[in-house]
């Protein structure tokens, strides 16, 4: 080290020197490059998000509309309907597989009747069909027998084998029931444990164990919770398979640590002066927490809860483990009936071979994303509106 000091050149650096200028230019160029790489990384990441959303939009928006084909009821068709065999009236093969049910229920005997087009025609109408289907579509279009309507059935129906007849209401109701179970279990338990750990727990080995388990549970892969649900709720407690109650319990165990962690942070941020003031005028320790600390921490807790619920709403893997992947053609009637949920429905439809399911899958994804966005927006609103800064 002493050598280094000894060899320092005492003459000042000449910054105007050509070599020095070159060196400086190089360093500034490196600076600009680095900054551009950083900007590039941000833009690339945002670009991925944009590509993802645009792909889903462009694939999925057509899923909300539906092509309909007009059936002209002639004497032959009328006879077929009257004889209780409406399928024969639809022998042309351009109508949806379940069209005869509508025809039968409508009770039309003459004139014209609009029916949903078959999946092949529907895909062709949206510009993505095979050559044959394209030709059939062109022919129908020339005859003026094609029209496009908003597909209300998609919002009110349940799963089906024909992509033109599927709906998401069944899966949505399953999600709703599952989320009700999840929040009823995870919220009280999560808030109460957060209160205990933050306000009352003595510092000892037991408390450490509780804290370690909560922190670990928050990082356990979701599929492990599925295995837990399978082993405990199905094989040990014999609760009904595929039911929202089992799904809700499993997701509750997964969501609870998130609520506990958010709750503890919210409770921690309430200043000690509030507690001291309440204790000073004679409130008991329980009254301090339940009358003063908890109401002040509630916006923070709710924000964390909504974020946890949004995560649970988008969760798929644990629900596959407990059998919520069955084909369910009717919306569930209760907590113990077989059901499926929105993300699992997306997964099931993504496995279908028929081209018509591509737009339905993307449309269901759009619905799911809208709900998640709304929940996260609500959480941000709550945080900005009600959270106090001390």
């Amino acid at each position: 080290m002493s050598d280094a000091f000894a060899t320092v050149d005492p003459t000042p650096t000449d910054w105007k020197d050509a070599a020095m200028q070159r060196h400086l230019r190089k360093r500034y160029a490196a600076e600009r490059r680095f900054k551009l790489i950083g900007l590039g990384a941000v833009l690339l990441s945002a670009g991925f998000l944009a590509v993802l959303l645009i792909t889903m939009m462009s694939n999925g928006l057509s899923g909300f509309s539906q092509t309909e084909v007009r059936l002209d009821i002639g004497p032959a068709e009328a006879a077929a309907i009257a004889s209780g065999n409406p399928e024969a009236a639809l022998a042309e093969g351009v109508y949806s597989e379940g069209g005869w049910v509508r025809l039968r229920d409508a009770g039309v005997r003459q004139g014209q009747f609009w029916l949903p087009a078959s999946a092949v025609i529907d895909v062709a109408a949206k510009g993505d069909g095979a050559a044959e289907a394209e030709a059939a579509y062109q022919r129908l279009d020339r005859q003026g027998r094609i029209r496009t309507r908003i597909n209300f059935g998609f919002l009110t129906g349940a799963d089906a084998t024909d992509p033109t007849l599927v709906g998401i209401w069944g899966a949505f109701k399953g999600s709703l029931l599952t989320m009700i179970v999840t929040i009823l279990i995870a919220f009280p338990i999560g808030v109460l444990s957060a209160v205990y750990l933050e306000e009352y727990a003595p510092r000892n080995r037991w408390t450490d164990m509780i804290e370690v388990s909560i922190n670990n549970l928050a990082a356990v892969p979701s599929i492990i919770f599925g295995l837990l649900g399978l082993a405990i709720f199905l094989n040990f407690m014999h609760l009904p398979r595929s039911a929202p109650i089992v799904g809700g319990l499993t997701l509750a165990l997964m969501t609870m640590p998130v609520i506990v962690i958010a709750g503890r942070n919210a409770i921690k941020s309430v200043p000690p002066s509030i507690r001291d003031a309440a204790l000073g005028i004679g409130a008991s320790r329980i009254q301090v927490v339940f009358h003063h600390v908890l109401p002040l921490a509630l916006p923070g807790i709710l924000t964390g809860t909504i974020i946890g619920m949004a995560r649970a709403l988008g969760e798929t893997a644990p629900l596959l483990m407990i059998g919520m992947r069955a084909f369910i053609a009717a919306p569930p009637g209760g907590f113990t009936e077989p059901a499926t949920v929105l993300p699992v429905q997306i997964f099931l439809w993504s496995d279908e071979v028929s081209r018509g399911f591509v737009e339905k899958t993307s449309a269901a994804i759009i619905v799911l994303l809208v709900f998640l966005l709304a929940m996260n927006g609500l959480a941000i609103y709550l945080r900005n509106r009600f959270e106090k800064r001390w």
């Binding site: 490196a30 590509v51 670990n216 356990v220 599929i223 295995l227 008991s284």
Partner: protein, 460 residues
């Protein structure tokens, strides 16, 4: 009467008890002579809890044992003597009789069931009346006892608060129970698996084909459970490809947003990038399978590399995109934790901003970044839907990113869907894989948190 009806009835009784006890307490507050120890509400809660909780507890226990009692009574009846002695037939008759007795079905196929149904109905009615009577007795006894104790000097608040504390403790123990539940259920099923397949074969075997033969003489009749190809696939997708995408992008985004971006840009871009972490994994999986995988297969074929439509690259790439916000926010935190003096010192010496970042900030923040990367890896190897939808099922040991590999989570889903028998090694293997996954992610998390914590302490 149904159990839920009784429970609702009890809650109604609880409300009555609350009002009554509160009224009684109000009366001596109103008299004004003495200052009671507790507020009237606490007396109300005390009596309501004693009225409802023991009765509900009894109801829960009764619900579990009354089925057995009903069964015994039916078996003791003369009508049951003529039942088939055992097997399917017996349970079929009993099931039918039960359905008839509860009114689930209107008609029975079996004459013996028809004879047994009234016996069943009588037994059910008998025991449900006993249950109701005992429940109400407990409720009234508990409520009345508690009510009689309501007096100005009675310390109702202390008692109620003690109960609240007990509830709080129980709530916080549920997390421990969940952890124990995960460990016990995984260990229990894994032990059953390892009694059929040796752990050495599972952990070090190179061949994975878990199909069990239907006939014993079939080719490949004993499934092979060597999990090395699965572990390799998991590491290849989650720890190699995903991290090659996520670490540079996440780290550089964090550096740009914390060091260069204006506050307005930062305020918009940071939440935008966090949306990436909030998109459900099933959406990423669909994106990977529908858009990314075909593009990568075509690209690989154009390069002349043998490519599968379910390539490791597609799954890893999309998983990396999902992980970007995790890496970015961890890097953000650890860069922010580097003391300002270090940055100021470097800038004062004449270093440019990028030189300061590369030579001072990042090395100082490195332990935090490494911790964040470890957490991201643990998140990536436990991720299920992307690999289920975009990675393949073929257990290949290959380093070609355009080929198909399979992962631990994919195989768990694959093994546990479809027909399940809970004594075949095929199903139990899923739990063994789950145990490995649980232990590895646990270890990664503990190491990561320790690294982060140790480093934080160094600067504080």
């Amino acid at each position: 009467m149904k159990t839920t009806t009784i429970a609702l009835l009890l809650l109604g009784l609880g409300l009555v008890a609350w009002l009554a006890a509160r009224g009684k307490a109000m009366a001596f507050v109103g008299a004004g002579k003495i200052r009671p120890h507790s507020l009237p509400n606490y007396h109300g809660w005390y009596v309501a809890i004693w009225g409802v909780v023991p009765a509900l507890a009894f109801l829960a226990i009764w619900g579990n044992i009354s089925g057995g009692l009903i069964f015994q009574t039916v078996m003791a009846s003369p009508e049951a003597a003529s039942l088939p002695t055992f097997g399917m037939q017996r349970s079929a008759v009993l099931g039918e009789a039960y359905a008839l007795a509860t009114g689930e079905t209107a008609a029975a196929f079996n004459p013996q069931a028809r004879a047994l149904a009234p016996v069943y109905a009588r037994a059910i009615a008998f025991y449900s009346w006993i249950g109701l009577a005992v429940t109400l007795l407990i409720a009234f006894a508990g409520g009345a006892l508690a009510y009689s104790r309501v007096s100005p000097n009675f310390r109702a608040r202390t008692r109620v608060e003690r109960m609240v504390m007990a509830v709080l403790l129980v709530a916080s123990l549920i997390a421990v129970l969940t952890t124990l539940g995960i460990l016990v259920s995984l260990l229990f099923e894994s032990l059953r698996f390892f009694s059929m397949v040796s752990p050495a074969e599972f952990l070090f075997g190179l061949n994975w084909s878990p199909q069990m033969a239907i006939r014993a003489d079939q080719a490949g009749s004993s499934g092979a459970f060597g999990a090395i190809p699965l572990f390799w696939g998991t590491i290849f997708i989650g720890a190699v490809i995903a991290m090659i995408v996520a670490i540079p992008l996440g780290l550089m985004s964090a550096i740009y947003l914390t060091q260069y971006a204006s506050p307005r840009v930062r305020a918009w871009m940071k939440p935008l990038l966090e949306i990436l972490a909030g998109v459900p994994t099933v959406v990423y999986g669909y994106f990977a399978a529908l858009t990314v995988a075909p593009a990568i297969r075509d690209f690989g074929l154009a390069l002349g590399i043998p490519s599968s439509s379910e390539s490791a690259l597609a799954a890893g790439l999309v998983m990396g995109i999902m992980i970007i916000p995790f890496v970015s926010s961890m890097a953000d935190d650890s860069i922010a934790a580097v003391p300002q003096a270090m940055r100021d010192g470097s800038l004062a010496m004449g270093a440019t901003r990028s030189e300061t970042i590369r030579k001072v900030l990042v090395p100082a923040a490195l332990p935090g970044v490494v911790g964040g990367v470890l957490l991201a890896v643990s998140r990536a190897i436990g991720e299920t839907m992307i690999v289920v939808m975009a990675a393949g099922l073929a257990a290949n040991l290959t380093a070609n990113p355009f080929a198909s590999v399979t992962t631990v989570t994919t195989q768990i889903v694959q093994l546990l869907t479809g027909d399940q028998e809970f004594d075949s090694p095929k199903t139990l293997a899923a739990f063994a894989l789950g145990l490995v996954l649980f232990l590895v992610t646990l270890a990664l998390n503990i190491v990561a948190l320790r690294v982060v914590k140790k480093y934080r302490e160094a600067y504080e």
